[in-house]
Point group: C2
Chain length 337, copies 2
């Protein structure tokens, strides 16, 4: 990078001291209007821009937020990033992105990177593999505010923003039942994730409400396109297959539809499918997918807002009370049910 104009350059050219220039630039009342004008004019002329790095060092703050996220490619997460960036941008923060690629090991490294980069705060959605949270604990011990979103953990003193997974699952399954399904399978996320548990329990309770027997055999761990495709194939070939599917995300749901078609079954006539996410793909599939919108953009916004609030407040650790924010979900009915 070219040598940048500094406050000193301006000071020398104007025969002033650096402190005067500094003050003039930020409209300090002590400075005479004349000097102020002169300084500002020259600054503009030379294209002076304050050196953020120097400010960082002095203020011990980088106006940067670290984002640790499983994978950008997932529509849901990219929607969240949009929300985060929107708020960060408005508040003059920048965002550093670190992907864990669903790897615990990589995630640990990410937390170190976030420390080295001296970000002011961190937004986290952890990997599917993560069961030990001590790397996040370390961030918190360093008094770096952390806000968890989507995939959260209760054992840490940190804020959380989540979709209302239980409610979303409940209305999804309720919808299937009202549409006439009686034998409903659930393609679930790993149960070490709260979202896995909450959606399963929403599924469970919706069945209960309608006096439908909860059958362990109808719950499968299948939260990717590939695993879901395979699982759906297996189940649909067995005698007495389900007439309804509630999948933990859109990819799994679309895989179910795919599998059904391949087996010559019709959706929604022979079986109905509901997803969770309301991704772009939900509108592209054939038939279009009924799904629970979890408002990723909103979720990202909220998470970022909570973090910025913490950054302003600087609550001492002893007084810290974690806040949990729940974003309501909404069923989007399309033609797969």
């Amino acid at each position: 990078m070219k040598r940048q104009i500094t406050i000193k350059d301006i000071a020398v050219k104007l025969g002033l001291s650096t402190s005067t220039v500094s003050r003039a630039l930020k409209d300090h009342p002590d400075i005479s209007p004349k000097t102020r004008a002169a300084v500002k004019e020259l600054a503009a002329l030379l294209g002076y821009r304050p050196n953020r790095i120097a400010l960082n060092l002095r203020n011990n703050s980088t106006r940067t937020i670290g984002l640790i996220i499983p994978e950008i490619e997932h529509y849901f997460f990219s929607a969240i990033i949009n929300g985060i960036e929107e708020i960060a941008y408005k508040n003059d923060y920048s965002v550093m992105v670190f992907q864990s690629n669903e790897s615990y090991k990589r995630e640990v490294i990410n937390t170190q990177a976030v420390l080295t980069n001296r970000v002011d705060g961190v937004l986290v959605s952890f990997s599917k593999e993560t069961n030990d949270f001590s790397h996040f604990q370390k961030l918190i011990e360093n008094e770096i505010p952390v806000v968890f979103f989507d995939r959260v953990v209760d054992s840490l003193p940190a804020d959380q923003v989540v979709a209302d997974d239980y409610q979303g699952a409940f209305i999804a399954v309720n919808h299937l039942i009202e549409k006439g399904c009686r034998r409903i399978a659930h393609f679930a996320a790993p149960q070490n994730l709260q979202i896995g548990k909450s959606r399963l329990s929403g599924y469970h309770d919706a069945l209960l409400k309608h006096n439908i027997h909860f059958d362990h055999e109808l719950v499968f761990l299948a939260d990717t396109y590939e695993t879901a495709k395979k699982a759906a194939h297996d189940i649909l070939r067995k005698p007495n297959p389900p007439d309804g599917f509630f999948a933990v995300n859109d990819m799994s749901a679309i895989a179910i539809i795919k599998a059904a078609k391949e087996l010559g079954k019709r959706v929604p006539e022979d079986l109905k499918v509901v997803g969770f996410e309301n991704s772009k793909s939900a509108g592209l599939s054939d038939p279009e997918l009924t799904t629970v919108d979890q408002f990723g953009f909103e979720l990202g916004r909220e998470a970022c807002l909570m973090l910025l609030k913490r950054l302003k407040e600087q609550t001492p650790a002893e007084l810290f009370k974690p806040i949990r924010k729940v974003i309501k979900t909404k069923l989007v009915v399309r033609s797969s049910t």
Copy 2:
């Protein structure tokens, strides 16, 4: 953030000077093994981490790359980010992401943000709206290395990484012709983008090769799902509709399939469709989409590698020779043709 352990803390506790500690930490040969060991032990014990901000100031470098990109939500771009992050991570760089959201105005602000954040280099794919490139010119004048990817511009002294758009379009259209299509429409990107031009010209030349008349009336500006859906509806209802479609991206291609189905036409029997991108959605559509893979991940990797090379070399502006790297594309044949 909690007050961090500094080199001074260690120096005081050990009765040494800060410089000795600094040297010990980086295995300077002058330092006696004893001191070195003592310093390192205490550093580990106290959990010392070098303050990157101080280093930034001293070295006038942030080990950070700025990424200016239209929108993360697009699969192609998120694949690119993956590639970029992969390389950045391996080389101990961090990535700051700035989305233009396809807005020229926002993009100009992004370039300012990138300057304020004193990133070491910038990777850019500009917005569809962008016709004036002076904001990037400004980066280059500041001697910040810039590498353009996917959407590039020739008038600036900067490296470029692009997919082989011409070749991709050519093989796509050639494929349609070989499959029997004779009246082939092209859904194009804006012609201020090189990719728009190159793909159009690949389309044109493939027709030429087979002595098929190039018909202006069969080229439409339609590079989003919505615009393509509408355009396809219009065209397919006219007499003598096309029997083949080459779309500039997968979203448009999928929209064409959607529109065809809504009009009771069969793909690939009544009309064949080829996309460009090989996104996740291409494998989900029904029928699955034949498309040109443009290897976003590779493209991101290459772009980042080129940037890192420039950062190492520090070529003076007078000697700068822009490099253009072309990533070969590949036709992925599925059932839409």
